[in-house]
Symmetry: C2
Subunit: 453 residues, 2 copies
């Protein structure tokens, strides 16, 4: 992507054309729930219990179905807000082949990989909005993008230190020293691959949505286990935490119009055309009105972490670029998240103002070194969409894990039970939720070794 592309895409020179409804050129993305939920009931413990009409069923994988690391998954079925459940989840084995760049082709997911060179696992949550299409496409696509990106750099990943040249041939004798001085490690290539995969997936979703005449977007929270490390990549407002005996460690940050205020305001400063004269980029404690004109009111601009006072002018009365507080904060009055996939067609209601230029698809990546931290079976990574975190704090989830897991040490489905249990409260409040529970110590020896070709 270049600056020229950005300008051509988002800053047309002449007057803005009226928004065109997308014209379908292919069939809509078929709706489905995650494959690993096939044959599932409403989950352990509640299947035969009398169902209260105000309690939504919690759905989990069928009891006999083993997921990578015996991970636990649960989701609350949506029955009211929209026709379809807009969220999705995915998991599977990640089979990285050693192949020449450009030689890869599509590969069936969740099958054995005879030519694998490096294997890992992958768990993902996609919290959709504006329709289920983007989340379904992300669940169908992101792992393939990631595999492709990892295969493009796998030779560098398995070296003691990533070589300056992917071919491994040094052109300059001190190349290893330059790489060493920059502190570049194999894990930086995985981080780079995750960053590129999210962007590639976003482009695929954009093309597919346009072709099928559909709309929508989704957040993405992904965990990948590879070479003895767990990578957590997040674009959106889902959250992952690590729960240990004496510690609760956040593994992600939430990306919302509030947390990314300065980045978003700065873009509007650089390209005021993006606001089409309809919004003000400045932040005020509330939307200003005529009576405020000429008064000195609290405000802040893109370069400020602190607050100051400014004299209110007429242009300050426009609708704010970021408006509302906490869970109610909205970008351009429309969207509650500032990173994610999709939303290529999203515009402010009844205008031609696009949201996409303000959204980032690039995730923030956190790395857990499983060996160095001596992570054990009792240590659990919990990943969940914002619905869970609206009703349970990190500490409450940690208490649930700590009180449940030790007493069920022998049950291979204990992560599953734990996942199910944490959603029961959400089932009553009626929020959308899905969650992964990953417990360390199952099959992770597999990912630490790569097989020689």
């Amino acid at each position: 992507m270049s600056a020229g592309w950005f300008r051509r895409r988002f800053l047309p020179g002449g007057p803005l054309p009226a928004p065109r409804p997308p014209r379908p050129r292919s069939s809509p993305v078929p709706y489905r729930r995650p494959r690993f939920l096939r044959g599932s009931g409403s989950g352990p413990g509640t299947a035969d219990a009398p169902r209260r009409p105000d309690v939504r069923p919690v759905r989990s994988p069928a009891r006999g179905r083993a997921l990578p690391w015996n991970a636990g998954y649960a989701e609350i079925i949506n029955a009211e807000k929209s026709e379809f459940n807009e969220d999705q989840a995915a998991c599977g084995q990640l089979c990285i082949r050693r192949c020449e760049f450009g030689a890869e082709e599509d590969q069936e997911w969740l099958t054995s990989c005879p030519e694998e060179f490096l294997t890992g696992h992958y768990w993902a949550l996609f919290d959709g909005h504006g329709g289920p299409a983007a989340a379904i496409l992300a669940a169908n696509t992101l792992h393939s993008c990631l595999r492709r990106q990892l295969e493009a750099v796998v030779e560098g990943m398995v070296a003691t230190q990533p070589p300056m040249h992917l071919s491994g041939h040094s052109i300059c004798p001190s190349d290893p020293q330059f790489v060493e001085e920059k502190g570049i490690r194999a894990e930086d290539l995985v981080i780079g691959a995750l960053e590129s995969a999210f962007q590639e997936c976003d482009e695929v979703i954009g093309r597919e949505l346009e072709a099928s005449g559909q709309v929508g977007g989704c957040t993405a929270l992904v965990a990948v286990s590879l070479q003895g490390k767990l990578y957590v990549a997040n674009a959106g407002d889902s959250r992952a935490i690590l729960v240990r005996k004496d510690e609760v460690r956040p593994l992600s940050s939430e990306f919302t119009p509030e947390t990314e205020r300065q980045r978003i305001q700065q873009l509007a400063f650089v390209y005021p055309e993006l606001l089409a004269g309809e919004f003000t980029r400045l932040e005020f404690p509330r939307r200003l009105k005529g009576d405020d004109l000429g008064q000195k009111v609290l405000f802040r601009d893109y370069h400020m972490r602190g607050w100051s006072y400014k004299c209110v002018e007429k242009s300050d009365l426009k609708y704010p670029l970021i408006h509302g507080q906490g869970r109610q904060a909205r970008l351009l009055g429309t969207l509650a998240v500032s990173r994610g996939l999709g939303d290529h067609q999203l515009r402010v209601l009844d205008t031609n103002i696009q949201l996409k230029p303000f959204l980032l698809s690039v995730p923030q990546v956190t790395v857990l070194d499983v060996d160095q931290l001596e992570l054990q079976e009792e240590d659990v990574v919990v990943m969940a969409t914002d619905g869970l975190w609206d009703v349970l704090s990190n500490e409450q989830v940690a208490r649930l894990v700590r009180s449940f897991l030790p007493g069920n040490r022998e049950d291979p489905h204990r992560s599953q039970l734990c996942s199910h249990r944490s959603l029961e409260r959400g089932a009553v409040t009626g929020l959308f939720q899905r969650t992964w529970y990953l417990s360390f110590g199952h099959t992770r020896t597999l990912e630490r070794n790569h097989l020689p070709c």
Copy 2:
């Protein structure tokens, strides 16, 4: 500042005009050392000692001269690198008057303030480059800018909660609730005032340098005590730490081309014109050369925290926007810092490529709540330019403080002695250094109370 201003200032539409040497319209900024060093010797303990020719004298305020909080200051005199010592320091009382905006006039520094409404103290270090003028102007000006910015918001600072309207008259009954929900506190107004003061000072320096035909820039590290809090504002690569009995807490981050890589690369992505076709914004482990063409080499772009490989094209052989490693890293091959004041005329050697658009004058501000942390006389804030941190680690400085201060509890000049001592090692290595030592528990009750007008 608007986007239009930025574009007009840095992105001329036609071919770039040749750089003009500034034409002096006023006399040069007079050179001086900090006023509080008047009458100083080479400092305690060394004044009468035989001087080794390879050891530079360490200069401190005269023994009888009390600085705010009995703070300690020391600097090493520059004798070789440039004709003048390019660094500066300042300190003094900060007297905030309650006055109508626009009614203030210049006020003599370090004098009593009969009309003061709120008082605090101020300590600053300015590490200059490219000549001493910018650091001298900053030492002469920044405190006045800060006082002006604080006076403009002081009514909000002394309220229990900053009011939505500076006048204190609510227009909307729920205004206090909006302010409460945003979590806006009095300290946010001080942070905002520091951010604005740095920018205002930068504009003053730009005008003064242009008028006097001088050049140069400087970093700025400032500590301000006000209403029972200590604010540390930093723009550049100086550093402040808090040393306590069992803790060493960083109070600032260093802003260099390396730490601000993504911001700088992104600006070059948005405005490629700023590189005038002479530089590449991409980062590689080393500068590429002809033999690398067509090879896949390690790289990263503005949106990447991780690394990936790319196929080298001809444009990648250009000089990198950020080049070198650690202390050697340079922005556009020229500057080792990415934030600071001045440098309005700075251009890449033999070109018209400006550095100023890549530099930020806005500081990062850290707040220490003196009461809440129960800071005592034994707790010390150490502020120093990079020269000190090149030869002493945070822990080494902390050891020095902890070993020295308790044995000299009765000496009112102990901060001074401690400051002097920490520079003695630097005096041998010959680096430029200046440092402040602020010990809590002296006069801070003064700043916590504001006098009713």
